[in-house]
């Protein structure tokens, strides 16, 4: 005879679910509206999504205030964990989504935006990512990850070109493999510690002084592979360029920001205690993975002929750069990770939007991909402002001061210096020099070559006022980043430090 379980509603602390529930309700509302009235214009759905995301953001910020007063908030049988990382992660996720969703407001019609399902999937995906970062329960992380990923596969495929289907299937296959790895890794941890909460796993492992080190290593290898896929670290990165190429530029830009920050936060929760527990093997493997990810992807990026593929490899390299922060594992480096990603999202948003506004529906004869370098040749002569904007984003990605990413870059390198990783700091610096080459290549094409005829009618064909506004916001965020760094640094340090990372 089982004892009836008594749970008081107050102890559940259901409000911890509020941010995700807002997104989910938003998705359901969109589906509901579609039942009642069909054929609404996409701008309606964009604005409705935007409103729900605003509410979402408001509730996250509310939690931020509570966190600063009372410390981490637990809820739902301790499944939910709203600490500083969760709040920062959710802010980046939601703000990133808010900046990307208006990219649907193109002046040309695109197939996918006619479906309200697109927007509801988008909101489901955000809810998934929010679950992923707001817990340290491996099962909930898994559920969040899969919710978000499945929605994302569908979003990619909705772009309705043969390359998009290819991309979606490729991503799905790789994602399924990663999910398998993740499940295996979690299972082994459960087997040796009897828990699926990262906190408890850490304390159990520490209590028996890593007696089962062999099993721990196996579990860590599985999890590392899973995150390798999700964060596109070399050698698990092979899907990235193809998937980016197949999806619309807007979605590719989104994929380079939001899913990754969710992955980074989970990786931070998981690897932090392992790196600090003195599992040297993990440190070494992570070190090698970080260096190879940064360097190899930089070298691949150099030989690309398509700007979008180049940006795909560059985002792999940036991910490697940021993984270094997790490897270093100090409060400063974790702060640097968030600072870097916040600044990166603005710049990358701008870069991908610039590709998105010059999206062409049909390829020219002899053109093999959507955005070959030649397309941008001599842009300064045909559209000087566009060329300057694009150059600005490229310079920022290359880490040229005083533009956005430079500040993230020096803060990560500084954290490597203070963390005692001198060689890593040098490798990071030299990698920035390699990276400068391929970003410069685009600038060279734009500023120093003659225009190639045929492409000129595609520049900015896709631009509407809202897209231009987004580019403007990204440019302002990139140029004036220096004034935002200090307040960001203060807030992020506060949140990260109070979460014990």
């Amino acid at each position: 005879m089982l004892e009836p379980i008594h749970v008081s509603l107050a102890s559940l602390n259901i409000t911890t679910l509020a941010p995700m529930l807002i997104a989910i309700v938003g998705a359901l509302v969109i589906l509901g509206i579609d039942l009642v009235k069909e054929g609404l214009h996409k701008s309606f759905y964009v604005m409705v999504s935007l409103l729900f995301l605003l509410l979402d953001l408001g509730s996250v910020i509310d939690f931020g205030n509570i966190f600063l007063k009372n410390g981490p908030i637990l809820g739902m049988f301790d499944m939910m964990l709203i600490d500083g990382l969760a709040i920062l992660g959710q802010i980046i996720i939601v703000v990133g989504s808010m900046l990307f969703i208006p990219l649907a407001l193109t002046s040309k019609r695109f197939h996918e935006y006619n479906y309200p399902e697109y927007f509801s999937l988008f909101l489901f995906m955000i809810a998934g990512f929010q679950f992923m970062v707001a817990t340290d329960n491996l099962i909930l992380i898994f559920v969040g990850l899969e919710t978000a990923s499945l929605a994302l596969y569908a979003l990619i495929a909705l772009h309705n070109r043969s390359k998009s289907f290819e991309a979606a299937v490729k991503y799905f296959t790789m994602g399924a493999l990663a999910a398998g790895f993740f499940a295996f890794g979690s299972m082994i941890f459960y087997a040796i510690t009897g828990s699926i909460e990262i906190n408890q796993i850490a304390s159990v492992l520490a209590a028996d002084h890593y007696a089962n080190i062999g099993y721990v290593l196996v579990a860590v290898s599985f999890l590392l592979a899973a995150f390798g896929f999700k964060l596109s670290m070399v050698p698990f990165h092979t899907w990235t360029p193809d998937v980016y190429e197949g999806s619309s530029a807007a979605l590719a830009g989104y994929m380079s920001i939001v899913p990754k920050i969710a992955g980074f936060i989970v990786a931070m929760r998981l690897f932090e205690f392992l790196v600090h527990s003195g599992v040297v093997w993990l440190q070494v493997v992570l070190y090698i993975a970080v260096v190879i990810t940064m360097t190899a992807s930089n070298i691949w990026a150099m030989v690309q002929t398509d700007v979008k593929r180049m940006l795909a490899y560059s985002s792999i390299s940036h991910a490697g750069f940021v993984m270094a922060a997790i490897l270093i594992g100090t409060t400063q480096s974790n702060t640097a990770l968030f600072l870097y990603w916040a600044l990166f999202s603005f710049t990358n948003l701008g870069a991908f939007t610039m590709l998105w506004v010059s999206r062409q529906k049909n390829l020219l004869p002899g053109q093999s991909s959507d955005h070959p370098y030649e397309k941008f040749a001599g842009l300064v002569k045909t559209m000087p402002m566009a060329a300057i904007m694009m150059a600005l984003f490229m310079l920022s990605l290359a880490g040229i001061p005083p533009f956005g990413l430079f500040w993230g870059k020096i803060y990560i390198i500084a954290s490597a210096v203070t963390g005692g990783y001198t060689v890593l700091a040098l490798i990071m610096a030299l990698n920035s020099a390699i990276a400068a080459y391929y970003y410069l290549k685009l600038i060279v094409f734009m500023f120093m070559k003659e225009p190639v005829t045929g492409y000129e009618k595609y520049y900015f064909t896709n631009a509407s006022l809202s897209l231009k506004t987004i580019i403007g916001i990204a440019a302002i965020g990139t140029i004036f980043a220096v004034f935002a760094v200090n307040p960001l640094l203060k807030v992020i340090t506060l949140f990260v430090y109070n979460s014990g990372y």
Binding site: I400, A414, A433, V444, F447, M448, F483, N486
Partner: protein, 515 residues
């Protein structure tokens, strides 16, 4: 306004450049000259306000940028930076005034004005990160100038220029972050202020590493042998204005940074590396002079000779005494004036003939007498003839190094004299003899616009050659305080012996006088 004059000097050209987008392209050149002239007179006014008797920083301004990480907008000048700033504004003005480029002049003017901001910014910055920001930012306008207005190999040359310098400066950036970290360890606070770094006394082995990190950044910029390979390409492909600015000012950033960072921050390491660097400098003087002799292109001759003289600047800097460092700072100005003028002169003939090969010329002295005269004066200045501006700087640099090592100075001095050969032979090939080519018979002599740009340079060359005191005195006042700082910080016996102790020396001198 006086307390913000440096900020005005830094940001006025950038603001003007932004507004320049609106100016119609036919008026762009006039606009550029006006802005550059205002900027130049502002910098002269700065000189007027400058107190030459004070050796420390003046016109300091400070505003927090990233307070949590110790990054401040901190600018200020002393006698060392003052004249390089004036040189920058002067050459921007002269460069724009003598512009003969016809393709997309407006873009070029705007780019030059942005470049001017970065140049003034580098020399005025007293915060390492602000310095780094301007240092890196200066690459972009130059990349564009070489890449868009250059010769056939311009893209290769511009990217080579960019990547070389960028790689070096990233290593330097890691060094800067280390410095800030040491400061943090010592005081519990982050700071990138150079003046606060000056107070740190680092253990010798740290000094060696950091010196090396900074050295990579600076040496590529100078460019020191064997990092100089980007320069001939850059000069060979750059348009006249690009070469002028590059040779006159951008290269000085490297030598200036040695004086501002490497010497006072790492005195022991500076002494440790003194002779290796001196050897590199001498190789640079001799080797590039030999290469210059083998060139057929007059622009390459000027380019290599400019590298060769940069070697003398390095040698003077690493003499580590007041004579050497003051001489090298003075030589930076002199080298800027002279090599800038030579590149302008090459540009004059290139505009007329569209070739830079010396074999195409000959006997120009009879066709273009005024041109030949100005070229002659500048060439004499370049080889360091007494009563020209270069002589003062070279003499003091060598005198300074003579106090450290007789043998090295002797080799360097001989090399400079022998170096005169290539210049004289180039001059002979171009100007003397008979006019061999028909195209050269009807060449027009320098016109009024060109004279307007060249004559001031000639005047400065001779004026400061005869009477260098107004410039030299503020320089050596500031250099004295740096040398004293180095002596006070020196820990190793050798460093204490090599770097003179000015305070006690002065006391000894006055004692002798009283006896």
């Amino acid at each position: 306004m006086q307390e913000h004059i440096l900020s005005i000097l830094i940001f006025f050209p950038a603001l003007a450049a932004m507004l320049g987008f609106i100016v119609h392209k036919d008026s762009a050149r006039a606009y550029g000259i006006t802005v550059a002239a205002i900027e130049f007179f502002l910098s002269l006014w700065l000189w007027n306000l400058y107190d030459p008797m004070t050796s420390g920083m003046q016109f300091m301004e400070k505003a927090p940028l990233v307070a949590a990480f110790g990054i401040n907008y901190l600018v200020g000048i002393d006698g060392i930076s003052l004249f390089i700033i004036i040189l920058s504004t002067f050459f921007t003005m002269i460069g724009i005034a003598s512009l003969t480029e016809t393709r997309r002049v407006k873009d070029l003017i705007i780019t030059l004005l942005f470049l001017e901001m970065t140049m003034v910014g580098v020399f005025a910055a007293l915060d390492a990160i602000v310095f780094y920001v301007f240092w890196e930012l200066s690459l972009i306008p130059m990349l564009y100038i070489i890449g868009a207005w250059g010769g056939p190999l311009r893209i290769y040359a511009s990217i080579k220029f960019f990547l070389y310098t960028f790689t070096g400066s990233l290593v330097m950036l890691v060094g800067m972050l280390f410095m800030a970290y040491f400061y943090y360890q010592a005081t519990g606070q982050w700071s990138f202020s150079i003046l606060e770094w000056y107070r740190l006394i680092l253990p010798e082995n740290f000094q060696l590493w950091l010196f090396a990190a900074f050295f990579v950044g600076f040496a590529i910029k100078v460019p020191m042998f064997p990092f100089h390979t980007w320069l001939p390409y850059a000069h060979g492909q750059a348009p006249t204005i690009g070469s002028v600015i590059l040779a006159a000012i951008l290269l000085k950033m490297g030598t200036y940074a040695f004086v501002r960072f490497s010497l006072p921050l790492f005195p022991d390491a500076a002494v440790f590396f003194m002779f290796p660097i001196a050897i590199l400098a001498i190789i640079m003087i001799v080797y590039t002079a030999m290469v210059a002799y083998a060139q057929e292109d007059i622009k390459q001759v000027v380019a290599y000779s400019s590298v060769s003289h940069m070697g003398v600047i390095i040698l003077g800097t690493f003499a580590l005494n007041v004579e050497g460092i003051s001489g090298s700072v003075f030589l930076m100005i002199a080298h800027g004036v002279v090599s800038g003028a030579l590149f302008l002169l090459v540009g004059v003939i290139y505009d007329r003939r569209h070739t830079k090969l010396m074999s195409e010329f000959g006997g120009l002295a009879s066709v273009m007498p005024r041109y030949a005269t100005i070229f002659g004066i500048m060439m004499m200045a370049s080889v360091g003839m007494p009563l020209t501006i270069n002589f003062v700087g070279e003499f003091l640099s060598l005198l300074g190094f003579y106090k450290q090592s007789h043998a090295f100075t002797l080799v360097a001095g001989t090399a400079i004299i022998v170096g005169a050969i290539y210049m004289l032979s180039a001059y002979k090939k171009m100007f003397f003899g008979n006019v061999t080519k028909d195209e050269n018979k009807n060449l027009k002599d320098v016109n009024r616009t060109e004279l307007l740009a060249l004559v001031p340079l000639v005047i400065i060359t001779i004026w400061l050659g005869v009477y260098p005191k107004p410039v030299l005195e503020p320089i050596s006042n500031s250099v004295e305080s740096i040398v004293q700082l180095m002596h006070d910080k020196a820990q190793t016996k050798e460093a204490q012996a090599r770097i003179p102790d000015l305070a006690n020396q002065g006391a000894m001198n006055s004692q002798q006088e009283t006896h």
